[in-house]
Symmetry: C2
Subunit: 396 residues, 2 copies
Amino acid sequence: MSLEELQLKIKALEEELRQAKHGGAAPRQKITHMSGEVVDTNPYSRLMALKRMGIVEDYEKIRTHTVAVVGVGGVGSVTAEMLTRCGIGKLLLFDYDKVELANMNRLFFQPHQAGLSKVEAAANTLHFINPDVTFESHNYNITTVDNFDHFIDRIKCGSLTGGPVDLVLSCVDNYEARMAVNRACNELGQSWFESGVAENAVSGHIQFLIPGESACFDCAPPLVVASQIDERTLKREGVCAASLPTTMGIVAGLLVQNVLKFLLNFGEVSYYLGYNALLDFFPAMSVKPNPQCEDSWCRRRQAEYAAKKASEPKIEKQEVKEEEVVHEDNEWGICLVDEATPEEASSSACASVPSLVQGITVAYERPAPVDEATSKVVDDADDTSLDDLMAQMKAL
Amino acid sequence: MSLEELQLKIKALEEELRQAKHGGAAPRQKITHMSGEVVDTNPYSRLMALKRMGIVEDYEKIRTHTVAVVGVGGVGSVTAEMLTRCGIGKLLLFDYDKVELANMNRLFFQPHQAGLSKVEAAANTLHFINPDVTFESHNYNITTVDNFDHFIDRIKCGSLTGGPVDLVLSCVDNYEARMAVNRACNELGQSWFESGVAENAVSGHIQFLIPGESACFDCAPPLVVASQIDERTLKREGVCAASLPTTMGIVAGLLVQNVLKFLLNFGEVSYYLGYNALLDFFPAMSVKPNPQCEDSWCRRRQAEYAAKKASEPKIEKQEVKEEEVVHEDNEWGICLVDEATPEEASSSACASVPSLVQGITVAYERPAPVDEATSKVVDDADDTSLDDLMAQMKAL
């Protein structure tokens, strides 16, 4: 081959390489206007068909919405992919973890991404799947003081128009991060969804939290789906949790489906929906906020909500009820510490455990009040220590 | 640059290109032995943890299993990905469609795969995700005569050891293909799962079919999840169906979860599980086979099953029942055309409609018997014609 031919060959290889790095082709052009045209080249035709089917009135509205996904692991990555494929306006991604081969038993990440930060790897893949979505990614732990302030700022000002995001989705795997999201959302009056999967991989749940209106994450012990499995086999510090792509994909699907119902105003949004994989059982319920919640912002939001409710004209609820045939479990009927005074509430270690529908249980019971003089648990009926309870909480 | 340098550069580019085509890195080495070792580099650690958690007794057994996935679209591709990530032994993929940009509103396929055959694109991606799985793909329509014979042969002899596959999963989107799977499985006595998603994208179901033991697809009109949506808005020939990554991901997740429960012997396998996305409602039931089923292989399998049951020693069922607390709907109690003689059954157009649990409805009613002299429907109480019914069936 001549020098010239070799140089041409190099040019061709370089071009091929450039394309191969994006999966063999350049990313598609951005689409300015969502169309319902039924052609094979239109990535939105099957979504816009939701309008023709009478499900969604204004599907295009999804492009104006911003959602923050906190935790881009087994649930969060699939959540972000579903929203991206649905054509959400903007996604904020928060995580500080790296992709590992040990994550390959869940959907989304691929082996060649091992070693990359999860937010970076996710944003790259998602941008390639749908370049119409705006991505903002933050490779940090939201629970440290500085990062928490930055996180609050992005939730408050991170939307496409510089205002608050429409929803925060918690897809994290630990208690501290959930409490950080809870604190931020109570302070901002920001609606959010919590999601979780058990350490034994065979149950999970989603929960919708509207500050002041539904129970916050600090109002009651976290609700989890009851399993027939001995709880003592569950994860302890340092033990490898089990996970399945099925359970995580289903929880992500239920989460995003409810996000779509909320953003695009169709169907009924679930307040708490559990999934027991062993029995294919899906308990649903809703929980009122706890007037004695330890989070002062939660109590403030409750007062605001009560004032707002009091100022609204009364609506005859009976007529609406008659149409709700199927979903009786999901009524707004379960009350935490109902009618109790603060004294009554704090005098009983069990007062904050809500009445639960079949199939849902609390992750742990509140520690009994501590006698400050002796620093010992007063009501020590079972021999679970405060340390044990804290360890259980952390293991969630 | 010298000729030699240019040639070296070409070699380097070619190697880089080879790797880039697999996402920037070579596929990982095959893993001979599934280990539970908790290290970041072990793709099976979170699955093997199911043993430590007391969920699955012998997780490694999954490597001996073969599953056929018929239809590699919105549900089938995610189904195949989940099984691949779980480390299934072998997957057989059947589809004759090409990837289009119009599929990008569902999980799995990416824009650069547009134009490729679905089975080829899927097998490439899945092999890269988990090279331990064996893939066999068939790019054809199973409903033509020749292909149907080949399909039967692969179900019968396609396992890792040359025997029948362990399960067939139907993830197709039309009536003819479902009937072909049904016919093949009845003939072979092959257990299979059916799955489906409504044309309005907001409901779906899975169904477990054991020839002779549970209703086959021809025993009764297909059961679908009731929607509050006007049925007349549903797909007609040529109309673009709506779809959502959420609903399809959830149906795939429920399907594969039940496949895992069946193959690895944990939890309870659901016979029929529906999903109503608008209400987050999940009706479950089971349906006995129809003694007057039009499929002669189904009737033969029923006779075999009855004979097998009659020869078994009676087990006190009461004791087992007492442990089944939660899932009352999923009892083996709903009977098709119970105790009816063939004459009675065929004399009533409604006789083959099973008693259904709340939330499930039949996709259509069997056409009323036709008076051969006039070729008109005898009982024409409503004005739905036979043609309309056939069109409805096809639109499923």
